[in-house]
């Protein structure tokens, strides 16, 4: 039985710190020798902004720290800094991310490898702090690379990988790392921090090459263009996103070589899936209650496993189809909503349905919406979802209803 989560063998030169997901990102930014960071407070993202400020104040990081007057400027500033060759960081949450929308839209066509932390937060109204994935998912069609992490360690490692992938000349696309508000941004866990020397071996300098805005390389960026040019520009972006798949796999392989840890499969974590009849799918910290529930159910003889999706864009279509089509039933638990979508399902459920459409073997797929607005996903929710999936496996067909779990009714 494959248990993907192995204890990371601590290299002797790594330092163990008790830090939150946000602080882990800040540690990675120091190691990546960040140049420009912009900030505007919104919870839960503001934890990373405070952590970076502390690093700079303590002299651990030399970087421009610019407090903008709002998220729109916050993302505009790093966009421009990136075009002149600065390694940049930015981030936001919920409606703050929405307020930056115009800049989020222009960064992919301009090929700006901005790395952002989205501390996932419910969109207003009501003005809730808790996690929902709809904020980050808003940019899913625009050329942003999107991933979800579920631990401080993964937050740190993924930030280093993010710069390597985003800044690769074959890619040059913005990348958002999503961290569940509260569960990850505000919980401290034991985290290994590698040495700068090792990071330097892994992460090259940012080089925009011919796209660098510099007096020695005079170019015009973002002129107005009409129908004779636009579709070609979109086609270029599509190609860059396609190349990101290869570059990302290279980066993870190299990460393992340099640091001696990290997942073999960059795209998703598989937990007890080898003989699983029911596979539950989710993104982010929902993995914790699911794993615990799986262990409880396994003790009672139920063959359940989990696929935790790390990368949503680019979407690992082939690998995910190969992993999921082995199951007898799939249960997708979405921490987001997509009102009026096919079957009124969550976003991940419908992406997986689409991915499976041409698969030779299409197991029944059940769609669940759970944990919205930061509500805790409890073991009972997972048991309930698993029972329904088992019934579907027995019947050999899906019900097309989307099930809301943990809602008062």
């Amino acid at each position: 039985m494959a248990v993907a989560t192995k204890a990371a063998p601590a290299a002797a030169d790594e330092t163990e710190l008790l830090i939150s997901g946000s602080e882990a990102v800040a540690e990675a930014l120091v190691l990546a020798d960040l140049d420009v960071v912009t900030a505007y407070p919104i919870r839960p993202y503001d934890t990373v902004m405070q952590a970076i400020a502390k690093k700079i104040a303590n002299g651990q990081l030399v970087a421009e720290y610019i407090v903008a007057e709002g998220e729109h400027s916050q993302f505009e500033i790093v966009k421009h800094a990136s075009t002149v060759g600065a390694r940049v960081f930015c981030g936001s949450s919920g409606v703050g991310w929405m307020y930056a929308m115009e800049c989020l839209v222009v960064t992919p066509p301009l090929r700006v490898p901005m790395v952002a932390l989205v501390g996932n937060r419910a969109l207003d109204d009501p003005g809730a702090f808790g996690v929902e994935h709809n904020d980050a998912l808003v940019v899913r069609d625009l050329g942003w690379m999107l991933c979800w992490v579920d631990s401080s360690q993964e937050a740190l490692d993924t930030t280093l990988i993010a710069y390597r992938v985003a800044e690769d000349r074959r890619v040059l696309l913005p990348l958002a790392i999503s961290a569940d508000g509260g569960f990850l941004t505000h919980s401290q866990a034991l985290t290994l921090v590698p040495t700068k020397e090792k990071v330097d071996r892994f992460l090259p300098r940012y080089d925009r090459g011919d796209l660098l805005l510099h007096p020695d390389n005079p170019i015009t960026v973002a002129p107005q263009a009409n129908e004779d040019w636009v579709i070609e520009i979109r086609r270029q972006n599509n190609e860059a996103m396609g190349r990101a798949t290869t570059v990302l796999e290279e980066a993870y392989a190299d990460f393992r070589r340099v640091f001696g840890r990290g997942p073999e499969n960059p795209w998703f974590e598989e937990y007890m899936t080898d003989d699983a009849e029911v596979v539950l799918v989710g993104m982010g910290t929902i993995s914790l209650p699911i794993k615990v529930a799986i262990r409880e159910m396994r003790a009672k003889g139920k063959k359940v496993g989990m696929v935790r999706l790390r990368w949503f864009r680019p979407f690992p279509t082939d690998r995910l189809v190969a992993a999921l089509s082995k199951a007898r039933a799939i249960g997708v638990i979405d921490r987001n909503y997509s009102f009026g979508s096919p079957f009124a399902s969550g976003v991940v459920a419908n992406e997986i349905r689409a991915a499976l459409y041409n698969a030779e073997r299409r197991p029944p797929l059940l769609s669940f919406i759970c944990g919205l607005g930061g509500r805790e996903v409890v073991l009972e929710d997972v048991y309930k979802a698993t029972d329904m999936c088992q019934a579907a496996a027995k019947a050999g067909k899906s019900d097309t209803k989307t099930h809301w779990l943990g809602v008062r009714e």
Binding site: R111, D210, T220, V221, E227, D228, I233, R235, Q236
Partner: protein, 402 residues
């Protein structure tokens, strides 16, 4: 012919409302005989920029199906009638989108018609209009180009007159009675305009143009790059900032070879190099950076880059050093400075013929004093001729008054 496709080539801002009225008028006129139609502007154009060539289209057909058949391409590739509302467009048009230079008759079908408003002779116009590999008819409506503004409209009956001319050109689709009835019912229509349409119908002049006739110049063009040939990141490489004119002297900025913009121009500056005091104002103030610095530190307006806005004339502190002259009286974009250097006496003669032509120095667009509009209209109706105003009152009007 079961469908009539017409294009209306006009100048941005100055003729935006005029072109739209004509396109709508064509559809309404055809509707009078039970036909179907659609009127639209080329969306990629930028008709909110002074003088930039733009297009409206009107398609009318016997049935809805035939109309759809002809609308399958949003922008028609062939037109039965091409209408140009300003004769300086005869030199070709380059739209806001990058297409290279398009001859004014490029879309006109073999044996189709090019209708223009012009006071030039057929012969003069054919010096400008590019040669075509098929015969066509050139039709002229005798009038100066009708220019107004974005928010104002010049009620000089041009829309009604063009529709009247079309009734002569394509009577099977637009009978004169149908056109007159449509004009009367339009929100801008009147009995007087109906009368203007009838007169133009009778007076429109036509001339068959043979394949051997026209401007032999090959219009500049270029291939649009494939997606993988284009630079990434929505970026354009810069050109060299400048090169010396010759022998290390002078300053000539590099310019975009694919988008020249000069067909935007309805007037061009004529420069008296002997009067130039080298103050730099024209060079600095030109919004299109069209001035090249010559080795003797005078300024030559590059006619591939000049949009004809007239700012240079307005800022020049020397009387009659820069004079804006109507584009129609020029045949090419040759350098004035080179002409001047080659033979100063000959240049003086040439220059005098241009800036001494009072009709050619009348402003093609823009109002220079309160009441000018009323005055122009009054004169054009009373005299049956056209009002000509020149210069900027209080500045140089006196020296250019008729």
């Amino acid at each position: 012919m079961a469908a009539l496709i017409s294009e209306i080539i006009y100048r941005g801002i100055f003729q935006k409302n005029l072109a739209a009225r004509i396109a709508r008028g064509i559809v309404f006129s055809a509707r009078k005989s039970g036909r179907w139609g659609i009127a639209f502007g080329r969306y990629g154009d930028s008709p909110q920029r002074n003088g930039i060539p733009a297009k409206d289209f009107a398609i009318v057909a016997d049935s809805k199906e035939e109309l759809e058949q002809n609308m399958a391409r949003f922008e028609p590739k062939h037109t039965d009638v091409s209408i140009a509302l300003d004769d300086t467009l005869a030199k070709g048009v380059e739209s806001w989108a990058w297409y290279g230079l398009q001859p004014i008759n490029r879309l006109t079908v073999p044996n189709g018609t090019l209708l223009m408003t012009s006071v030039q002779t057929f012969g003069d116009l054919l010096k400008d209009i590019h040669k075509k590999d098929a015969p066509y008819t050139l039709a002229l409506l005798r009038a100066k180009a009708s220019f107004s503004g974005l928010w104002v409209y010049k009620e000089d009956h041009t829309e009604a007159r063009v529709l009247g001319a079309l009734a002569r050109i394509a009577p099977s689709f637009l009978s004169l009675d149908a056109v007159c009835q449509a004009i009367k019912e339009m929100e801008w229509g009147s009995d007087l305009k109906v009368e203007s349409a009838r007169k133009t119908h009778d007076r429109v002049e036509t001339r068959a143009v043979k394949v051997t006739e026209g401007n032999a110049e090959i219009p500049y063009s270029f291939e649009l790059p494939k997606w993988w040939e284009m630079r990434e990141g929505v970026t354009i490489p810069a050109h060299f900032t400048h090169l010396p004119k010759e022998a290390g002297k002078g300053y000539v900025p590099e310019r975009n070879p694919y988008f020249k913009k000069f067909t935007t121009r309805t007037m061009r500056p004529v420069i008296d190099f002997d009067k130039c005091v080298k103050c730099t104002l024209c060079w600095i103030q030109c919004p299109d950076s069209c001035f090249d610095v010559m080795p003797d530190a005078t300024y030559d307006a590059n006619m591939e880059a000049c949009c004809g806005c007239g700012v240079c004339e307005a800022v020049c502190p020397v009387e009659s050093c820069i004079t804006m002259v109507n584009e129609a009286v020029f045949d090419d974009n040759a350098s004035q400075w080179e002409m001047w250097r080659k033979d100063q006496a000959q240049y003086a003669t040439w220059m005098a013929s241009k800036i001494g032509d009072k009709k050619a120095t009348a402003r093609s667009h823009g109002f220079r004093f309160r009441g000018q509009y009323d005055e122009e209209l009054k004169r054009s109706f009373e005299d049956g001729g056209l009002a000509v105003t020149a210069g900027i009152p209080g500045e140089n009007a006196q020296h250019k008054a008729l």
